[in-house]
């Protein structure tokens, strides 16, 4: 039993390694095909990455970006999950908020970047707000659907035990929504990093977006790709974190 599970784990690691290898091979192949300085291969990019990390230039930018994304996603979750649950559970709330959600959800929120900067200043708050705003809707809608989909029999049976509304929210509706919250979070962290890039190209001299733009203007393709890799790694780390959190908070999902 133990040996076979260890072997299965080894096989999974091997598959992941193959995945990474395929990615790098494709990249190298493309680089050879294009054969110009604008598309360095993974080896050159890796060297540039190592150099920019060693010289201490990259890490502060990475730290800024990580902070902004985490703050934005965390505030979005804190606001979107209760709002989604309230919309799913109470038709009145749904009717009140639906027009707002339906109208604002499809609008590209980054269009408000100048407005947000004017209102909230050029500091982190404006960036965090904008990223959070985009992510908020991506979490709100699935959470609401999750709360709507709770089977009536589940609620009836718990209520028959003497549960008050608060108990039903805590023991039934919230856990029923959690898997959807995590799925939406996985999508949201990708979006968050994309929006992060955009907000950091504007009125700042910190963050990976700025770092990329700076490398762009210097035509330093090595540095450019170092920044891109850092952004990819940031996204992957966030994704991994969501997976860990889901395993911790939704153990029944993986039986």
């Amino acid at each position: 039993m133990r040996r076979s599970s260890r072997r299965a784990a080894a096989r999974r690691t091997l598959h992941t390694a193959w995945g990474v290898f395929l990615l790098l091979a494709t990249w190298q192949g493309l680089s050879w095909l294009v054969d110009r300085a604008v598309l360095p291969g993974p080896l050159e990019a890796g060297e540039a990455l190592a150099e920019s990390v060693m010289s201490g230039r990259l890490l502060p930018h990475l730290a800024y970006s990580t902070f902004r994304v985490l703050a934005a996603v965390a505030s979005a979750v804190v606001l979107a999950v209760p709002a989604g649950i309230a919309m799913g559970r109470y038709p009145v709330v749904d009717r009140l908020l639906s027009p707002f959600v339906r109208l604002v959800y499809p609008v590209p929120k980054v269009a408000f970047l100048p407005v947000v900067v004017l209102l909230l200043g050029v500091h982190d708050l404006a960036k965090i707000f904008l990223i959070g705003l985009v992510v908020f809707f991506q979490i709100l809608v699935p959470t609401r659907d999750g709360a709507l989909a709770v089977p009536r029999s589940c609620i009836m049976s718990v209520r028959s035990l003497g549960a008050k509304e608060w108990d039903i929210l805590r023991h039934v509706v919230l856990p029923a929504c959690l898997p959807r919250v995590f799925t939406s979070l996985r999508i949201a962290v990708g979006t968050a990093v994309a929006v992060l890039f955009l907000t950091e190209t504007f009125a700042t001299s910190h963050g990976l977006g700025y770092y990329l733009l700076d490398a762009w203007s210097r035509l330093d393709y090595g540095d450019l790709f170092a920044g891109v890799i850092a952004m990819g790694l940031l996204g992957a780390a966030l994704h991994w974190t969501v997976d860990r959190l889901e395993a911790r908070f939704c153990p029944w999902e993986r039986l």
Partner: protein, 281 residues
């Protein structure tokens, strides 16, 4: 939360036992589901009485309002007209009444232990009492060792046991069951029928069992309510005092009673065709 009251002493010599208030007194209850595009009458003038410590099986064709009746008894729906008294008081969810649904109503995200503890948790019982009570019912229902399992890791029979355990943990006076065994295989089903019979035999607890199975109704219901509908009404209330005794299933009386109920049901489902009642082998 009140602790379980001391058992009433059984009839003392030379003194007549006082007649206890019935656990259920339902009189002239009607209920209609009002949806935006339809009104569906579910119950029309249902009346019955169930003495404390007794059991009642409700049987009838699909859609005859059996589940609605249970919800009303549980205090989850309020009847349009008529009166319902549970132990002399209007029904209220969570007040010494417990409901077990067809699909068990277990929460997939809670372990067996936490599912069984839920009723005590929402009643804010002290922690030690919760633990002690959960341990007790899990042992009684043969679920020890499965505490950390999730419902998805259990068989249908085990899940139903957990649902029963969750209900018993709150020390109810009245257990309401909606086709609790309908999705189980024949052997597990009989095993759980025996478990329910044992619960009845322990005394103190009364229950209402909604079922589609004639044998189950006759084996477990000291009173059998045969319903027709929609809208649901009680066609006949049969007294069946030997219900709940394990030996009853093997007797001729049991089979005769089953045939009687079968005849009644056949007349409800196919009123146009006269049914000749078979009387025993």
């Amino acid at each position: 939360m009140s602790l379980p009251q001391a058992a009433e002493p059984s009839a003392r010599p030379g003194q007549e036992a006082p007649t206890p208030a019935p656990i259920i007194a339902v009189s002239g209850v009607s209920y209609t589901y009002r949806q935006p595009n339809a009104t569906v009458p579910a119950l029309a003038g249902v009346s019955f009485v169930l003495p404390k410590g007794s059991s009642c099986a409700v049987i009838g064709p699909s859609g005859c309002g059996k589940t609605t009746l249970l919800y009303i008894l549980a205090g989850l729906l309020t009847p349009e007209s008529g009166s319902v008294l549970i132990a002399g008081r209007p029904p209220a969810a969570g007040r010494r009444t417990s409901l077990i649904l067809q699909d068990y109503g277990l929460l997939p995200w809670k372990t067996v232990w936490d599912n069984v503890r839920l009723g005590l948790e929402v009643r804010r019982e002290p922690r030690e009492r919760q633990e002690q009570k959960v341990r007790e019912v899990l042992d009684f229902l043969g679920l020890a060792g499965l505490e950390r399992h999730y419902p998805a890791q259990l068989s249908g029979g085990q899940r139903q046991r957990v649902a029963i355990a969750r209900s018993l943990a709150t020390d109810p006076d009245l257990l309401l069951m909606d086709e609790p065994l309908s999705s189980l295989d024949a052997l597990t089903r009989e095993e759980l029928q025996d478990t329910i019979a044992d619960v009845l035999g322990r005394g103190g607890l009364s229950f209402v069992l909604v079922t589609h199975s004639i044998e189950e109704a006759v084996y477990l219901g000291r009173r059998i309510l045969v319903m027709s509908g929609p809208p649901g009404r009680i066609v006949e209330a049969i007294d069946n005092s030997r219900a709940g005794q394990r030996s009853y299933r093997e007797t001729r009386e049991f089979h005769a009673q089953c045939d009687h109920v079968r005849g009644l049901l056949a007349r409800i489902v196919r009123p146009e065709r006269p049914v000749t009642e078979t009387t025993g082998p």
